[in-house]
């Protein structure tokens, strides 16, 4: 199980969030810590601050969350394809004449890059990784239901939070159903070659919609039978906020801001 969840994107982060050592912390506190750090990292816009955020949050996830470093690094690789391509486009420049410090001739035009633009792109990728670390602090320690609970307390319209609760649960029902369909198709050599795969893909997706619609009716009946009248109430664990946590958060943010001022 520990290694199996690597291959299922959706299940892996959800699984890690449920087993996180920081699961007992107050969800509103974790949301505030993650979002505050995210905003500071973006507003500071300094490589030193970004690096500090990346290192500090990785240490926190390891020490308090009990997350294996290997898992964490694996997850940080998710945005890498986008960051490298995006960073490449920011670093390079197209021009009809050679410009900057390096230029590569492509017959019709030149791809140029200057030391400044490369430095800018590297800082951008680092900043983005810092922001992703902050996002992971939320995603890997707080379950989606708790996060929706925080949104509910922030007075998001009831219809939206209700939809979120339902969608979150239905996603796993449908993933499970689709997994079975994939397996059934596989048992009939449905993924044998590309053409058959396309047919099976279309068939399973269409079948999934059918099952989803049928289940949606059954679930409404089940909810109505249990007294559903337009509001879903869940039992929420009481997770108290501890004063030292607030102090640590304030100290962390103050240190980041100080670092920003020192590197100005």
């Amino acid at each position: 199980m520990r290694h199996a969840h690597h291959t299922h994107g959706v299940r892996s982060i959800d699984h890690l969030a449920y087993t996180s050592g920081m699961g007992g912390w107050n969800p509103a506190f974790k949301t505030a810590l993650a979002l505050g750090t995210l905003v500071i990292c973006l507003a500071a816009d300094r490589p030193a601050v970004s690096a500090a955020v990346i290192l500090a949050l990785a240490a926190l996830q390891k020490a308090k969350g009990g997350l294996a470093l290997h898992d964490y690094l694996g997850l940080l690789r998710v945005p890498l394809a986008f960051l490298l391509l995006g960073g490449l486009a920011v670093a390079c420049d197209l021009s009809r004449v050679p410009a900057g410090d390096w230029s590569l001739s492509l017959h019709w035009f030149y791809v140029c890059a200057g030391a400044d633009s490369v430095r800018f792109a590297a800082a951008l990728v680092l900043k983005s990784l810092g922001a992703v670390s902050a996002l992971y602090l939320l995603a890997l320690t707080t379950t989606a239901c708790e996060f929706v609970g925080v949104l509910r307390r922030l007075h998001l319209p009831g219809l939206l939070t209700e939809l979120m609760y339902l969608i979150y649960r239905f996603v796993f029902v449908l993933l499970d159903t689709h997994g079975r369909m994939r397996e059934a198709a596989g048992a009939r050599l449905g993924w044998r070659d590309f053409r058959t795969s396309c047919r099976s893909f279309g068939g399973t997706a269409a079948g999934l919609l059918l099952v989803a619609l049928r289940k949606s009716r059954a679930y409404y009946d089940a909810m109505a039978a249990r007294g559903y009248d337009g509001g879903l109430a869940f039992l929420e664990e009481d997770k108290p906020l501890h004063a030292p946590q607030l102090v640590w958060m304030a100290a962390f943010w103050a240190a980041l801001i100080l670092l920003r001022i020192l590197t100005a």
């Binding site: 994107g9 959706v10 973006l42 420049d93 979150y168 239905f170 449908l174 997706a205 989803a212």
Partner: protein, 250 residues
């Protein structure tokens, strides 16, 4: 399969070969922290009117018929799952569908816009695709521009009496392409190039993502057609229930 469909599948197989050579796992979600704060706010504000329209339309649907709540939620979950499925490709790389075209054709663009926000939020916190600060920009490209254009193309093709499956293909493929163009515009507006300005930068962003996104759009179009063919043959009553065919209720 008919001859036409066979040709279509062959054509997309060639495209998928190209696609399979490159890793493209959710490459078009703008990652967390990649946009400057002003741009995050700007795109969020631009997406807001569409979201409000979608919210009110869903609210009306649910007020009219309480049973619709689980149907709408299932539609959202379906879009999420479709967009997390790996597309079959010859070399086994992992590319994902966006599902925006299919969603817009099935459920209508205004419903998809609000479901899109929820799906994108869950993609950020469950899959690490996209992010919280870039949510506005991603919502604008994937939950507003893509679905509305897909739906527009689909309706236009119907008006012009184009073959239904061709119109589904065009709607899904062009909707996907537009999403990619809008994302490139967003990135270029945030990071205009030093010499070429906005347009120079736009060409660069379109260029770096083109090798993965162009074949993906064709594959998405073809798969959407395969899904619609299957639904048309087995699920006509259900299609009518979600609003496909005669006028959308949401």
């Amino acid at each position: 399969m008919t001859n036409r469909q066979k040709k279509l599948v062959r054509l997309t197989a060639c495209a998928a070969l190209l696609c399979g050579a490159l890793p493209a796992a959710g490459a078009m979600h703008i990652m967390e922290g990649f946009l400057p704060p002003s741009m995050c706010v700007l795109w969020g504000v631009l997406a807001l009117p569409f979201l409000l329209a979608g919210y009110f339309s869903i609210k009306r649907t649910v007020a009219h018929d309480r049973r619709a709540i689980t149907l709408v939620a299932m539609a959202g979950a379906f879009i999420f799952v479709i967009s997390s499925l790996k597309i079959p490709s010859v070399t086994g790389s992992c590319s994902h569908m966006t599902g925006t075209g299919l969603g817009a054709i099935l459920f209508g663009p205004s419903a998809v816009s609000i479901l899109g926000v929820i799906v994108l939020l869950f993609q950020a916190i469950l899959l690490a695709h996209g992010g919280l600060t870039t949510l506005g920009a991603n919502v604008f490209s994937m939950a507003v521009a893509g679905p509305f254009v897909s739906y527009g193309i689909y309706k236009l093709c119907q008006r012009l009496r184009v073959n239904k499956m061709v119109s589904v293909f065009l709607a899904a493929a062009l909707g996907d392409l537009l999403t990619y163009c809008v994302t490139s515009v967003q990135l270029a507006a945030a990071y205009p190039s030093a010499t070429g300005g906005f347009f120079g930068s736009l060409i660069e962003f379109l260029g770096v993502f083109a090798p993965t996104q162009l074949p993906l759009a064709l594959v998405e179009g073809a798969l959407t057609v395969v899904i619609m063919v299957a639904l048309e043959s087995y699920a006509r009553p259900e299609l009518r229930a979600v609003g496909f065919e005669e006028g959308h209720k949401a």
